[in-house]
Amino acid sequence: MTTPLIVSDVSKSFTMHLRGGLRLPVVANVRFSLARGECVVLGGPSGIGKSSILKMLYGNYAVDSGQILVRHCDQIIDLASAEPRVVLQTRRDVLGYVSQFLRTVPRVSALDVVAEPLIARGTPAGDARERAEELLARLNLPKDLWQLPPATFSGGEQQRVNIARGFITDHRILLLDEPTASLDAANRAIVVDMIQAKKEQGVALLGIFHDEEVREAVADRILDVSQFSPRKVAA
């Protein structure tokens, strides 16, 4: 499987039991794949299910049907039905994710938050921290913040920590949920450069970018999510 990610006929709905079992279809028959070194941007109006697709791929949302196939240790894994520990292994080794908001852990410094994914893969802590410092420096996070827990950082600062954490590894697939939303132009440009570098390394990226400039700069193609909207099918 040279294609890093294949999504096949994935459907997702929410059943709101607290609202009388109301069933909310989100997406249906999602099918696409990512090639090596390709950056695909999810397009379409807000509320159409772009974030939900990323969350399904990452395992935060369950899917009703369909397959999400990635390769891990020479095995094809269907993330839609894999056991939790397999999902976690895949996250550790293959599938990276930069979420929109950083989930902070009390007392852990920004530097350690960034270094953690490398340490989890067996990189010596010293080397991992060195790499984390490089990334934080590149993203212009003031040095006096590095040893502090990010809980009290501004939105832009937290986002840069989050990006550094997502980009520190050599995951073959990277999911990006609006990584540049709260960044200024200079830092946006740096992130664009970092994405270009990932593409050159053969990483497959799937992202949501509302900023048109960034989208133009990084996207190889736009995947219109409205084609997967179940409401459209029903209409």
């Binding site: 929410f14 059943t15 709101m16 039991h17 607290l18 969350k55 990452y58 395992g59 935060n60 949302y61 369950a62 939790p84 520990r85 999902v87 976690l88 292994q89 852990v105 009390p106 007392r107 852990v108 989890a120």
Partner: protein
């Protein structure tokens, strides 16, 4: 992660007369995996934990544990001697109330050293050095080594209990509401400490909690219990971000936002 489970749980049920403690619980636990059991008071999560830790005999069911040698043993068929040996070497049990898991009238150093002495360590100097190292790891000042836990705060006692359990490098630790009686800031420190130790030592943990934030922070996987039954289980992120069962949705939507 190893490709063989550490614990195979099959059909564990506990009845108190006709009342259900827990019912038909089955799952596997892998080395290094942290499993959170959540649910409200009376949902059977502590009963289940006590059955798994052999502190309570289930009415039916079977739990197999992979010993250090690699062979599987049925916990409920073991002799008392074997089970107790396992409990003070390869396992840990962290009680909600530290007084239940500590000896309150002996020093912190002796509390940590007890397990070492129980497995035959007879060198005072080595025991003391190890105890001192562990106090440091759980962020208790080393000059408190000769103080009794009676003189410690709740958070310190809980950290001492954790050190006492981890000193023999167990592979499986049971925790019953480990942050239960603590202040929020003390909780955060303890959680962070536990989180670090668990990943450094590659511990498998089964933690019972009613606090979903604790589950999110510590666990890889979650089981939601209601009325003695497991009603939903899966990856912690998935259960919390996309709860499927009505009760789980109620639990998740009941979290207070700050």
């Amino acid at each position: 992660m190893s490709d063989q489970p550490l614990l195979n749980v099959r059909g564990v049920s506990k009845f108190y007369g006709s009342r259900v403690g827990c019912m038909d619980v089955s799952f596997d636990l892998w080395p290094g995996e942290v499993l959170a059991i959540v649910g409200e008071s009376g949902s059977g999560k502590t009963t289940l934990l006590n059955c798994l830790a052999t502190r309570l005999m289930p009415t039916t069911g079977c739990v197999q544990y992979r010993m250090r040698g690699g062979n599987l043993r049925d916990l409920y068929q073991m002799s008392d001697a074997e089970r107790r040996f396992l409990m003070r070497t390869d396992w840990g049990f962290v009680h909600q109330n530290p007084a239940d898991g500590l000896r309150m009238t002996v020093s912190a150093g002796a509390n940590v050293g007890e397990r070492l002495m129980a497995v035959g360590n007879r060198h005072y100097g080595n025991i003391r050095t190890t105890a001192s190292d562990w106090l440091e790891r759980v962020e208790i000042a080393q000059d408190r080594i000769d103080d009794q836990p009676r003189a410690f705060s709740g958070g310190m006692r809980q950290r001492l209990q954790i050190a006492r359990n981890l000193v023999t490098s167990p592979r499986l630790v049971f925790m019953d509401e480990p942050t239960g009686g603590l202040d929020v800031s003390v909780q955060a420190r303890l959680l962070d400490l536990v989180r670090g130790l668990v990943s450094d030592l590659g511990l498998a943990v089964i933690v019972v909690t009613h606090d979903l934030a604790v589950a999110r922070l510590l666990s890889h996987r979650m089981m939601v219990m209601k009325g003695g039954k497991v009603i939903e289980q899966g990856l912690t992120d998935r259960v919390l971000d996309d709860p499927r069962e009505p009760y789980t949705q109620l639990l998740v939507s009941s979290i207070l936002q700050v």
